[in-house]
Amino acid sequence: MRKTRSTVADALEGLLRDGMTIMSGGFGLCGIPEALIEGIERSGARDLTIISNNAGVDGIGLGRLLATKQVKKMISSYVGENKLFAEQFLSGELELEFNPQGTLAERIRAGGAGIPAFYTKTGVGTIIADGKEVRSFNGEDYVMETGLVADLSVVHAYKGDAEGNLVYRKTARNFNPMMATAGKVTVAEVEHLVPTGSIDPDQIHTPGIFVDRIIHVPAPTKHIEQRTVRPRIEENA
């Protein structure tokens, strides 16, 4: 059960092909598998369908795959931070499927858990429900949404071991745990690769069964989209 790979190229070897579907973790630029995304960029794989809450920003994260026109379709909940995205979408080069954020999260969770479809009240009476089954439970309407799976999931975690067990950090967790479960193959990049047995089993967020390959990316550059601070007042008072 050798899951540890030493390079990004090695971690993605034999997994990438044109036209495939890839899930990519993160919320905004927080918790994105940046090294693996850059590996996908270098591979040149094209016509990709990418499932990710957001689409990166120009030059960072999934924004890089947009720049190289490797993306055919995005399934996302919010893409407002990416100018290139707007251009490609408006010119018809890029397909887009919007999902409400909670519906997207649940579709991925369901996909990974072997649940083909579920009912939710999110989007009832809106264009999101167009063409979908609506069914009443206890006098309330719910719309049917389907589970999502991907050919490949790429995720980012704070800590991991050779077994594939993962621990996320703060709000960098977001979509990563569900995506890890919903990829036919899941590759994780971790900031700290620790000896098996050193993570308290009670503290593991993603059990290793969901992770096929793991790569150590020490001290990655992390990006902040909206740096907001408060002034230090009367510190010496």
């Binding site: 927080c30 893409v79 954020q101 009832v124 264009i127 709000t171 902040i224």
Partner: protein
């Protein structure tokens, strides 16, 4: 005279109750956090996976792994917990969040709400808005009364909806309205902003509403 953004936020903060779990949207709703009464114990939820959201960090203490749903850097509190997006929307959809305060482009007299899409313009996406309005127990809208001279409180929304019959209360710069989410359509004006007349608010509102100003004064 009408309410400023901060006065609208302060009015929205009066909808908070001790012990509430609350989700604040982007824009004026974010300002509500500045007006939480002393001694009022509320927990702010951020839909990217955090409960117990703290204030912005001090300069130099930003953490790229610690952001809110607006992608702003924030801090933890002793009561903070982190979780996945699926758990976060389980809280929202499952009715565990008491109050959602958010902005809107249009609200109809029956509580229909539109805040995510203008046909013909580049759409950024609905993010978590559809889940919030569908799942949170009480939905408070904070918005300008008009957009470029056009009424935003309408008989029917003409923009694509975020949710059907989901708004409970609308706070604008001119006043406060309650809306019935079930049964007969019932929208009531319950407060006027300082210096705003009934005639002015009637002129700037397309939605049909009854005037129930005494209900509040009583």
């Amino acid at each position: 005279m009408a309410w400023t953004r901060d006065q609208m936020a302060a009015r929205a903060a009066r909808e908070l109750q001790d012990g509430f779990y609350v989700n604040l949207g982007i824009g004026i709703p974010t300002l509500v956090a500045n007006y939480i009464q002393e001694g009022m114990d509320v927990r702010l939820q951020s839909e990217n996976g955090m409960l117990g959201m703290g204030p912005f960090p001090y300069d130099g203490e930003e953490d790229a792994d610690l952001i809110n749903a607006g992608k702003q850097t924030i801090t933890t509190l002793p009561e903070t917990s982190f979780f996945s997006s699926a758990d976060s929307f389980g809280m929202i959809r499952g009715g565990h969040i008491d109050l959602s305060i958010l902005g809107a482009m249009q609200v109809a007299e029956n509580g229909d709400l539109a805040n995510w899409m203008i046909p013909g313009k580049m759409v950024k996406g609905m993010g978590g808005a559809m889940d919030l309005v569908a799942g949170v127990k009480r939905v408070v809208v904070v918005m300008e009364h008009e957009a470029k001279g056009q009424a935003k409180l309408l008989r029917e929304c003409n923009l694509p909806l975020t949710g059907k019959r989901v708004a409970d209360l609308v706070i604008t710069d001119l006043g406060v309205f309650t809306i019935a989410r079930r049964g007969e359509v019932d929208m009531r004006l319950i407060e006027l902003a300082d210096g705003v007349t009934l005639d002015e608010i009637k002129a700037k509102t397309e939605a049909h509403f009854t005037v129930a100003l005494d209900a509040v004064a009583a």
